[in-house]
Amino acid sequence: MRIIVALKPTYDVSQLKFDSEGVPLLDTCPVTLGEADKCALEEALKVKGSLGATVVAVTVGQSEAHIKGIKDALAMGADEGYIIKINNAWNISSITVANAIARFAVVTGPYDIVFTGSGAGDTHSSIIGPMVSALLGYRLVANADKVEVKEQKATAKCTMEDGTYNYEVEFPAVITVTSEANEPRIPTLKAILRSKNMQVKEIGPEQLGLSVEEYKDIKVIKHMVERKRVIMEASDQKSTEESVVKLLTFLKDEGVI
């Protein structure tokens, strides 16, 4: 069996600090693989342990953090690791990322499963996996809390807003995994030392047939809403009632209601 695990290094939100103005201090924040991504890798490594599989870790981007993310994946037990060399990886659109991963799967494939985290640690848009499945024409199971892989198919339990779904899916398939799915292994010293001489392989966008046009920077437009900081006192019954009236009038004047 051959498995891809698509990974993205993100800011470790648990260690993120803010300055006195509330601006996040990104420069001092460690960058690591997201929790759900690690769980996706763990699922792949479990299959490797039980059924035997070649696990290929891949990330889109070529920064230090991307290289480190792939080395971490090798230390955890991935057999091969790739970075797709796009230098503005933080600023490209999700469809471009998904396309790069799908092209990678075609060029280095065939594969039985593409595992990925249900969402990245930072943006958490949860769209890469579904896009990859659409681009490759693979079946999709999204947001799996529990995965069981057999020779030809997998079963997965997925918690959705309206309930829990149990799926059975034949390969090839894309399975996105939540951070509830397992407890990802922590690389042991022996595994770290073993992975020391493993190469992080590089693959250029041109090798994947991606044109520069496709991965140009996207423009980020921020919508800022100026807060008006209107404060209503409500310390007792009387002031609470008065405040309710004031609040309703204010919201009407603003055109909100």
């Binding site: 080395k71 407890e183 922590i186 042991t188 010293l189 022996k190 770290i192 030392l193």
Partner: protein
């Protein structure tokens, strides 16, 4: 000269940190409160490969080195500042390495894999009730009887006594003993592997007691009487009457890790202190960190901690060169001063940092709720003893630097 950790060392530190955040940090207060490291945690530490790090893989070890062991111990102490788990871990790295250097093939094959997996404990049995600093003055005696040795005596203030009785396999000590007769001197000492409990069976010839201590409650310290305990000659460590030299080298190895534990705990305390002095605001909203009386002291303590850290990792690097890469330039005796510097500086720096941080925290620091006192009491154990007292470190440095002809431990 290179002052940077290698990529693997950094990755290993991260992995230990992740392990600690998951399995130790949520439990360290409970461990200190209940006076017990849960056996499942010991097993996990073994499974994660945090014991026998510098021991060769052929004896079940991790095939790493002392630098990596020091990283592990420092990081564990950061997440268990009361240091019980760190002490447990350091003993399971230092003394297994000493056994792998000086022990017989049979003893290494028998014991080390079980220590590495976390099923057995292996510590040091040197100190006796009449005094630990004077190793030449011990009274435990081993008498040869055919292919066996019969040992009698009493050991005191020994770490791991209760853990041996609780672990599934058991465990034992690098035991320091007089050969045939209890006469003062260092040329009549032989070391043995003493296993009061092995294959899950407790010997009736070793009678342990456990002491009630003021800190680092998670790991036990106790004593035991040894009555006609028989040890196979195969479990003798090294040559007859050379035991004093082996145990001194063993102390040099273990002391590096003791110092690593104290700097890990001290770093936690200083981080806690920094967080507090930034946030505590007095005199019309000024953070107390803005007062020179506080921030100058912070700078001094930070400098001391950095210095202690350099001592620790230089000593670890020297142990690696001396015993693991066997670089011909390094002799065991060359370790005496670098190791004594680390073991002197680490615990004393930690104690100083704790005392200051407790003051920064004000009355809150004096409450049990702040938990800072746990680290203070834990690291203080190492200013008293365990792998040698602080005065003995001073004695070693003075003896080696000023000269033997001027410095005597009996004068």
């Amino acid at each position: 000269m290179n002052y940077e950790f290698s990529e693997e060392e950094k990755r290993f530190r991260e992995s230990v940190e992740e392990f600690c955040k998951r399995y130790i940090e949520p439990r360290w207060v409970e461990i200190d409160e209940k006076g017990h490291i849960p056996l499942d945690l010991i097993k996990r530490l073994g499974e994660q490969g945090l014991f026998a790090i510098p021991v060769p893989e052929k004896y079940g070890g991790m095939g790493g080195n002392m630098t990596l062991a020091a990283i592990a111990v420092e990081e564990i102490a950061y997440h268990d500042p009361a240091v019980a788990v760190a002490v447990y871990t350091l003993l399971q790295n230092g003394w297994p390495l000493a056994l792998s250097i000086f022990g017989s093939e049979a003893a290494k094959q028998e014991i080390l894999p079980k220590v590495a997996s976390g099923d057995a404990f292996f510590g040091i049995g040197s100190t006796e009730p009449q005094g630990g600093s004077d190793v030449a003055g011990i009274k435990t005696v081993a008498k040869r009887s055919g292919n066996k040795w019969v040992i009698n005596g009493e050991k005191a203030y020994i770490s791991g006594v209760r853990e041996i009785s609780e672990l599934p396999e058991g465990g034992g000590y690098f035991l320091v003993s007089k050969t045939e007769k209890a006469e003062w001197g260092h040329k009549n000492i032989t070391d043995f592997v003493l296993l009061p409990k092995w294959h899950g069976k407790m010997s009736e010839k070793v009678k342990p007691t456990v002491y009630d201590e003021i800190g680092r409650h998670g790991i036990s310290t106790g004593g035991f009487k040894i009555e006609d305990f028989e040890v196979d000659d195969e479990f003798r460590i090294g040559e007859i009457n050379k035991g004093f030299y082996y145990v001194m080298e063993g102390f040099n190895i273990a002391r590096v890790l003791v110092a690593a534990a104290t700097i890990g705990s001290a770093r936690w305390a200083l981080d806690k202190g920094a967080e507090w002095i930034r946030e505590r605001k007095l005199f019309q909203g000024k953070p107390i960190a803005s007062f020179q009386g506080v921030n100058f002291r912070f700078a001094e303590l930070y400098a001391e901690l950095e210095a202690a850290k350099y001592f620790v990792y230089r000593a670890a690097w020297m142990v690696d060169n001396t015993y693991l890469t066997n670089s011909p330039r390094f002799k065991p005796r060359d370790l005496d001063v670098p190791v004594a510097l680390a073991k002197m500086k680490g615990p004393e720096t930690a104690t100083r940092i704790y005392e200051e941080v407790l003051k920064w925290l004000g009355a809150y620091g004096y409450t049990k709720e702040s938990n800072v006192y746990r680290g203070w009491l834990g690291t203080f154990s190492y200013t008293i003893g365990a792998e040698g007292s602080q005065n003995i470190m001073r004695y070693v440095i003075a003896r080696e630097v000023i000269g033997k002809e001027y410095v005597s431990h009996t004068g």
